[in-house]
Symmetry: C2
Subunit: 142 residues, 2 copies
DNA sequence: TAAAAGATGATAAAAGTTATCCTTCAATAA
DNA sequence: TTATTGAAGGATAACTTTTATCATCTTTTA
């Protein structure tokens, strides 16, 4: 069992061209086993139980590495400072995955059709906030 | 002209039950006139040109106030710490506007139909990231 | 197995945001 | 219009999150 996990993590690292370290493997396994969208601090707390000497910096560095390698994905493109909408029209955003440029796009222009207003778990829809992730024209050319 | 702006800002404040201050008005006008999704620091820099003595704290306090009053809207519900996806299925998020709880929802469950893969400005769509903002069942009852 | 490249850990520093506290201003009522 | 009172502003400390630095240690690979 342990052998299997180790083997598959080695393979994963080989595929993404990153070195296999103990910290990295434990971090990966812990994150993989977590529900929802834990913060780096939450991940750190869990990993520390298995590797008490691990540094928070290592957790951050490897979360970034995993995201950059495509092993995990960032939940949101917006996690820096608070950003406010000044465009009061109903609109969404086109976010360039390379240069991070954000451009507004109107609801109709996007051509998106929200259907239900009650979702699983009884969730009541107020509005949609859509980020279209892709490449802006400039970055397509580059 | 100035009179008109002032008058309408007074009305806006009255509607939202907040006091009219000089800083608040300039901040509102500056933000209203800005393109895109400026950060508090960027707003601060611009406001400072008109009210040099303004404090960064005032800018933050009033951005929050404007958002809480519904005068402006936060661009994203996710701007705290970095969050990572461990759910590798194609999915989106239901975000409770009251308790901020985030629940995953599958693409089909959401019943969303992305249509085009080329958008205005030549933007090339890679994927959609949808946040459904609304009320979870618990918060509907409360 | 040794050298080179890369990763880790400790910690300082930066960035972004909030809290504190005192001063000043705006709303309201006399 | 002015006095009063509660709210808002300004300066700055503190806190949170994240990144940078650098010496040491571990992987990789030749």
């Amino acid at each position: 069992m342990q052998q299997t996990t180790t083997t598959s993590f080695r393979k994963l690292c080989a595929e993404h061209g990153i070195a296999v370290t103990h910290q990295r493997q434990v971090l990966y396994e812990v994150m993989h086993g977590m529900e929802g969208h834990p913060s780096p601090e939450e991940v750190y707390a869990k990993v520390k139980k298995k590797v008490p000497a691990i540094s928070l910096a290592t957790v951050y560095k490897n979360i970034h590495l995993f995201v950059e390698s495509g092993i995990f994905r960032k939940m949101s493109m917006h996690h820096g400072s608070v950003r406010v909408e000044m465009n009061s029209e109903a609109h969404h955003h086109m976010v360039c995955s390379r240069c991070k440029a954000i451009t507004d796009i109107g609801e109709e222009e996007l051509g998106l059709a929200p259907s239900r207003n009650k979702l699983p778990g009884g969730f009541l829809v107020e509005r949609y906030s859509v980020d279209v992730i892709g490449l802006c024209e400039k970055c397509q050319q580059a």
